[in-house]
């Protein structure tokens, strides 16, 4: 098939280079890790210490606990509210400073927080949410003491049943600094720029309208700090994002909301959204309540009227049409890379090869179980295949067609942590797009109310003026930077244990994986 493809040509067009100049000075954001404590007064902890009436206020517990759970301020008569979430739980028993044992009056008791039962879901378990919060707070993976099981969710299939087979000791001793996690995005050799990102992931499209200004800007700043990208989604290009042009992907979706030549020319990557994993075969959907005056202005629509993007692109019926589309963008912006975001139907492998022939630099597969602002439940659960299958199919097919090394394969749709990222790469992706993880870092707990009324009660996926004031861009950026850093540490650790110098060596190494439901191997000690 590869031979039947139209040979690649660089379009010689007459656009002056000057339209491409970045006119807005670009923001610099340092990759500095510092604590970004949770923004709520009471944190949700996995274990809680209950204090009974037997407490004689001797202060011993406050004195011995190195985590500082018990708050007994000098001059006060009673304990202040404890910092439950820093308690390391049952792991404390063997440390010699376990307050429950050391309390002379046996007034303390440790229980698992009953609220864990109502937090999270099969895909995002309570442990995974709490661990992600911890990473966003500290910038490092949570210490094993906490006992969070956060490497997998509990969905019973796909990533959640796949494990790495680590060798007993690395075949090659490497230090963290010897390991390169960067990813090259242009493999076409078509004269367009080589764009390299420092981590093998970038931020998913979340439109202004589905999330707040503050959320979008926080994502953008973290993208700058890690020399990677964020994406505008399909709701138009906010002026406030201009200082982040160099790290922003702008989306051209079926609704063409807010797409202008000028916005296409600002960026280094343009993404065509053919479909979205959470609602494949259906267009985007912004419910009336969220179309506030400012959203309507950005999208050039009417306040309070629901917005539907059609499915599919009504101008694309064939690979040739697909190519025409890409050429249009490549013509408008001669330096941009083009990504095709598609979902995962049974012929996803054909779609991927088609995208390559049409001229895409990146094919981005968005699996069925990914995040979204609002989608019909019937679509989220039932349409198109989970991303795990799609990665394997597409990687294989591109390889057989002989074009695997000329296109960048990006996967998304339910990738929650560094382990999912590494597994996706080992299954055959070059890199991934993340979305929900960033929102969780900002305090999302997946209550699924993003679409209702004024929007997210936690001020993340909302454009309600009052609700979105719950946190600042500084705090939000730091949380996402911290999360990215923790993920990177974990990814480096995985590569180190395999003795790999580059993340690209992990790609397609399914021989390093095992699936708990299959006969291949038994799980080895971690």
């Amino acid at each position: 098939m590869a031979s039947s493809l139209v040979p690649e040509k660089i379009i010689k067009e007459g656009l002056p280079d000057s339209t491409l100049e970045t006119v807005v000075p670009q923001a610099e954001v340092q990759r500095v890790i510092k604590p970004a404590p949770p923004r709520y007064r009471n944190e949700i902890a996995k274990y809680i210490i209950r204090r009974s009436a037997d407490c004689k206020l001797c202060g011993k517990c406050a004195e011995i606990c190195p985590q500082g759970v018990h708050v007994f301020k000098p001059g006060y008569k009673y304990f202040a509210a404890p910092h439950q979430s820093v308690c390391i739980g049952p792991a404390c028993k063997d440390t010699g400073h376990y307050c429950v044992d050391l309390c002379p009056n046996k007034a303390l008791r440790m229980v698992e927080n009953p609220m864990m039962r109502v937090l999270g879901d099969y895909r995002w378990t309570p442990d995974l949410i709490l661990a992600t919060w911890k990473m966003a707070e500290t910038g490092a993976p949570p210490p094993p003491d906490y006992g969070y099981e956060y490497e997998c969710g509990n969905s019973g299939g796909g990533f959640d049943r796949i494990r790495f087979k680590f060798p007993a000791s690395p075949p090659l001793e490497l230090g963290p600094d010897d390991i390169d996690t960067s990813l090259q995005l242009n493999r076409r050799n078509d004269g367009r720029p080589q764009i390299k990102i420092d981590v093998p992931w970038y931020g998913g499209g979340m439109s202004y309208g589905s999330v707040s200004n503050v959320t979008q800007l926080s994502k953008a700043r973290a993208a700058v700090a890690f020399n990677t990208f964020t994406c505008t989604g399909e709701g138009g290009y906010m002026e406030r994002l201009r200082p982040y042009d160099d790290h922003t992907i702008t989306q051209v979706a079926t609704g063409l909301f807010g797409v202008r030549e000028e916005t296409i020319q600002r960026v280094r990557i343009v993404e065509f959204k053919y479909a979205q994993g959470a609602k494949p075969g259906l267009g985007g959907h912004l419910l009336a309540d969220k179309v506030t005056p400012s959203v309507a202005r950005m999208r050039e629509t009417v306040t309070g009227i629901s917005l539907f993007s059609p499915f599919p692109f009504h101008s694309v019926y064939s690979i040739e049409d697909h190519k025409k589309h890409m050429d249009w963008i490549k013509h408008i912006n001669r330096h941009a890379l083009v990504s095709a975001k598609v979902s995962t139907p049974s012929d996803v492998d054909m779609v991927a090869v088609g995208s390559y022939s049409a001229g895409a630099h990146i094919v981005h597969l968005d699996g069925g179980y990914g995040g979204t602002g609002a989608a019909p439940d019937i679509a989220k659960k039932n349409i198109a295949m989970p991303i795990e299958y799609a990665i394997i199919k597409v990687h294989d097919f591109l390889t057989r067609e002989g074009v695997r090394d000329r296109i960048t394969l990006i996967a998304s749709g339910g990738l929650r942590n560094a382990h999912d990222i590494a597994k996706a790469i080992a299954l055959g992706a070059d890199g991934v797009v993340v979305g929900t993880g960033e929102l969780v870092a900002l305090g999302c707990l997946r209550c699924a109310r993003c679409e209702s009324g004024r929007g997210c009660p936690r001020g993340i996926a909302t454009t309600d003026a009052e609700l979105q004031g719950q946190y600042t861009v500084e705090w939000g950026s730091q949380r996402i930077i911290n999360l990215y850093n923790a993920w990177r540490i974990e990814l480096v650790e995985i590569l180190r244990r395999f003795g790999m110098r580059r993340v690209s060596e992990l790609r397609g190494r399914t021989d390093l994986l095992m699936h708990l439901d299959y006969s291949n191997d038994t799980e080895q000690a971690r």
Partner: protein
């Protein structure tokens, strides 16, 4: 443009307190009585609503559980006195097949008639037993060629029930035999009899109106016929009488008015069909085949008989093979009947209706993909009336949901809303699949993805054989 099938709906609020998944536990003892209590800040105004709810209570029969589970109040309370807890009443809803989520979404759809929409991506398990072991596919992204590109308003959900002969026979230029009768209904669903234990006496008058208003058909047992009311004449086109082995032949007026009738699968089926057709040659007769261990074979055998035009394949309430320890599931059983008829080249000689375990709109689409022409539904319509499937009625106890006391308007409204929401969801998935007619969805496994196949083609290739667990 011809008239579009459209179901008129209006919101019908529940009679009983809502049962949410989570509730707030308030340890009041230590409360600091802050002036700025977080309860005022609940974005959903739940606390204020709770106060007015408690004030309006006539009896203390339930707790207030309408919290949306955002944890904001819990995390902001000055003294950390609030906690969320799982609602035990919610967790006890239904059973392992008819899960609390199924009951809850059925209630919301019966109230609003809307397609359930939510944020934050998919939250459930990767796959599961029964209908959860398949996905529907979507149309090609860059080559949406199936039915071309079209709007939702062009999607047809109508089906014909009856025999569709492959050939017409001509005799001297005239059709040698008349065309067999067909019953057409605007969506691929009929209302089946409720399982015995759930047949509360006041439901049939409601069901008959729902069938007429939505243009579909309700099957009513001849033994319960009296309960449906005295004004049945106008409803006959939307009713189908079920005759079991012992039931006498119904009167002529009834048979002339009805379009569809159903008989049990026993040795007398052939004689029955002839008797019925003698009175009304235009009536379509369905044979009800209970899918027990010999069900599939019987169904395939019946399909070969010239007197059979419709088979109604029925699994148990949970979609399982009847009376088996290791039962097969309805979708797989219907698929094997369908495949065997396709192989014999007689698939269009019979219409397959499939029921038992159809609990959500997605099951309707998936069952049709697996070879049924249409589905039959019963328990969801009862759940629409706020039934919790507690089964008290089966044991002769009084119904805690007081379904015996509902008024007609409420009952008709709730059931109609549910059917409308299912219809819209069917259009939604068909739109995504790029299929314009539900008749062409039947057996279209090219638009279905099966868990076993995908696992085999991907993980199976990499990791060996799948363990049985």
């Amino acid at each position: 443009m011809p008239d579009k099938y459209h179901i008129k709906t209006q919101p019908i609020p529940p009679r009983r307190p809502r049962i949410g998944k989570v509730g707030v536990v308030d340890w009041r003892e230590d409360c600091a009585n802050c002036h700025n209590c977080v309860k005022k800040a609940c974005v959903f105004d739940r606390y204020r609503e709770e106060m007015s709810y408690i004030r309006g209570l006539r009896e203390m029969d339930a707790v207030f559980f309408q919290c949306m589970g955002c944890f904001s109040c819990v995390q902001q309370c000055t003294k950390g006195l609030l906690a969320l807890s799982a609602n035990p009443v919610y967790e006890r809803l239904g059973n392992t097949y008819w899960t609390p989520q199924i009951i809850e979404t059925t209630w919301t759809q019966a109230e609003s008639a809307k397609i359930p929409v939510s944020g934050a991506g998919y939250r459930g398990r990767f796959s599961g037993p029964g209908f959860d072991s398949m996905w529907t596919d979507m149309s090609e992204i860059v080559r949406p060629t199936r039915d071309g590109i079209h709007g939702r308003e062009y999607i047809s959900t109508a089906v014909d029930i009856g025999r569709k002969p492959a050939l017409l026979h001509f005799d001297a230029g005239n059709a040698a035999s008349g065309l067999p009768p067909l019953v057409d209904i605007p969506m691929p669903m009929i209302i089946d009899m409720l399982p015995r234990g759930y047949r509360l006496p006041n439901l049939l008058p409601v069901i008959k109106i729902v069938a007429a208003q939505t243009g579909i058909i309700a099957v009513i047992d001849s033994k319960d016929w009296q309960l449906a009311g005295n004004d049945l004449d106008q409803y006959l086109p939307n009713l189908a009488m079920y005759l079991d082995t012992s039931a006498p032949l119904p009167g002529r007026e009834l048979l002339i008015g009805m379009r569809l009738v159903e008989i049990s699968d026993d040795g007398n089926a052939e004689r029955r069909v002839h008797e019925l057709k003698q009175i009304n040659p235009g009536i379509v007769v369905a044979v009800r085949v209970e899918l027990d261990s010999g069900g599939i074979e019987r169904a395939v055998e019946y399909a070969r008989q010239p007197f059979v035009e419709v088979l109604h394949l029925v699994a148990d309430d949970n979609g399982n093979e009847i009376g088996e320890k290791k039962p097969r599931f309805i979708k797989d059983m219907v698929r094997s009947v369908h495949n065997s008829l396709v192989e014999s080249g007689i698939r269009n000689e019979v219409t397959l209706m499939a029921g038992g375990g159809i609990a959500l709109a997605e099951h309707m689409a998936k069952q049709i993909l697996c070879g049924a022409d249409l589905v039959t539904v019963n328990l969801p319509l009862l759940i629409a009336l706020e039934c919790t499937l507690c089964r008290d009625c089966n044991d002769g106890l009084s119904c805690p949901a007081k379904i015996g006391e509902i008024d007609i308007k409420y009952g008709v409204g709730r059931m109609t809303n549910l059917i409308a929401a299912w219809h819209d969801q069917l259009i939604e998935v068909m739109g995504a699949m790029g299929i314009r007619e539900v008749r062409r969805l039947r057996g279209e496994v090219g638009r279905a993805l099966f868990f076993e196949d995908l696992e085999e083609a991907t993980f199976g290739k990499l990791f060996g054989s799948r363990k049985n667990n």
